[in-house]
Amino acid sequence: MIRLIALRELKNLFLSPLAWAILAVTQIILCYQFLSQLETYMQVQEKLSVLEKSPGITDLVIAPLLGGAAIVLLIIVPLLTMRLISEEQKNQTLSLLFSAPVSMTEIILGKYLGILGFLLILIAMIALMPLSLILGTAIDLGQLFSALLGLTLVLASFAAAGLYMSTLTKQPAIAAISSFGLLLFLWIINWAGSSVEAELATNQNGENVLTWFSLLNHFEPMLKGVFSSADIAYYLLFICLFLVFAIRRLERLRLPH
């Protein structure tokens, strides 16, 4: 049943021009970033090679590319997730799912996996760019996969938060802007964290809480190839939390209010 809803969601996405437009625009922007970064790298390559332990192409091209992809998708994922529930509420098609013998959990997981499927396609297309470098040079595959895994987890978190936001309102646009706001806030929350941290530098009590909450903070190590189970646990917790919120919210839609 979950698979059915997920597949329907994915197919519906491709029936609308939105999915195609998103794929195209993301690809164009990232492609431009990729090429310009490659250009810069070619120019500085000779000077760098003199240095001991010089950063390679994976550090200078691939990591920034995938980091950039996360930022671009921070804007784009809310546009994808906004439809999930709020559009169905607006078009009053949600009653089809509500009256079918399907549980709320199945509805939410189905919708979530559908959007996740689309994001995986998107990531696969982005991954083609760094992988194309294999033709000409050696890249650090371990770092690439760590970064891709990081990107997948970040996007999966975006989607979960966006899905929850979409259950809150009947207006897709409001769902989009509020999930964008939430994600951006969680992205930059470590700004405050870092300045506080500077003040508390003497206090050796480890990490600042705000920094820990930042989506970015857990992504950066993965871009560098540092693979920590704490970071993965953070993303998985994040996803589960918002999915549970979304299920509860969907249940609540039926209650008197």
């Binding site: 519906n12 029936l15 078009n91 009653s95 009256s99 013998p101 399907v102």
Partner: protein, 350 residues
Amino acid sequence: MDSEVLIEVNQLSRHYRTSKRGSKHDNKHSGSRDGYAIAVDNISFTLQRGEVLGFLGPNGAGKSTTMQMLTGNLAPTHGSIKIAGMDLMDNPIEAKAKIGYLPDTPPLYKELSVDEYLIYCAQLNRISKGAIKSAVNMAKERCGLTEHGRRVINNLSKGYQQRVGIAQAIIHSPDIVILDEPTVGLDPIQMIEIRKLIKELGESHSVMISSHILPEIQTICNNVQIINQGKLVLNASIEQLTQHMQTQNLHISCTQLIDIHKMTVLEGISEVKQDNNHFILTCTLPAAEEHDEEHEREAAMIKTARQVIELANQQQWGLYEIFSEKQSLESVFMSLTTSDLLLKQGLNID
């Protein structure tokens, strides 16, 4: 007993907060208390297999809310709903599998074709893989959609979209079919077809339909419920209802002015209303307690009509039109929904 109870609703109520603006219900507040409006107030009824139940009420009476609760789209504030013996709250999935529901707005994914949509609905209702094709074909055939399978729903006319909505509700041949105003937006021919379909459905399933169109209810339902301001004001079978329609109207048109007084003294006429040279005579008929007495009422009506014609000839009023109008469900509906008087007159038959 082969009458099997499929829906059992017990003291069902639904309130919602009025203090909150932009309430999500189409229902107008039906009386409020302590900041709560009551959309549905303490309704109890049962639906049996083979029964076609008509659900009537003015806008905002709570028809759609009740139907939404029966189908698990809304949770009731109080009360219980049992679908084929299963509690809708405790076993929602098993209970919902027994229901086909068409909401007031058909839940269509408009970018899909009719076939794609119906296949999806069949899968959602857990129809086994092998049976999907025949289920979709059956539903399409019953709703007259056979030739439209490959068309995108968005390009269909409203009437055809409505049919897709009905097809969606009957695709898994559920025991209970709940249709919220199924004939809205259909042309007269389609309406007749859909009514025929509903009658057919009523033979093997239980059907519950809501409607504003009273003759529709009269022709297809065998039981009627009238709901007003969230309360059930009438629950009766069609036969019981017709027995209680004690008055009948006689319409006459004359070229000359007539003496209303002379008309009122005639036997069996209780009231005369004038509309230019058109007159509406309200006739009181003997109450038919038994079904067989129907023809006696008929005879009484003919007698009154002949009296009127004779009188018109005598007085040379220039009578050129006369016809009788059976008091319809409409007038019962009107009197029940404008006041609760009839309830007190003992029209509430259980």
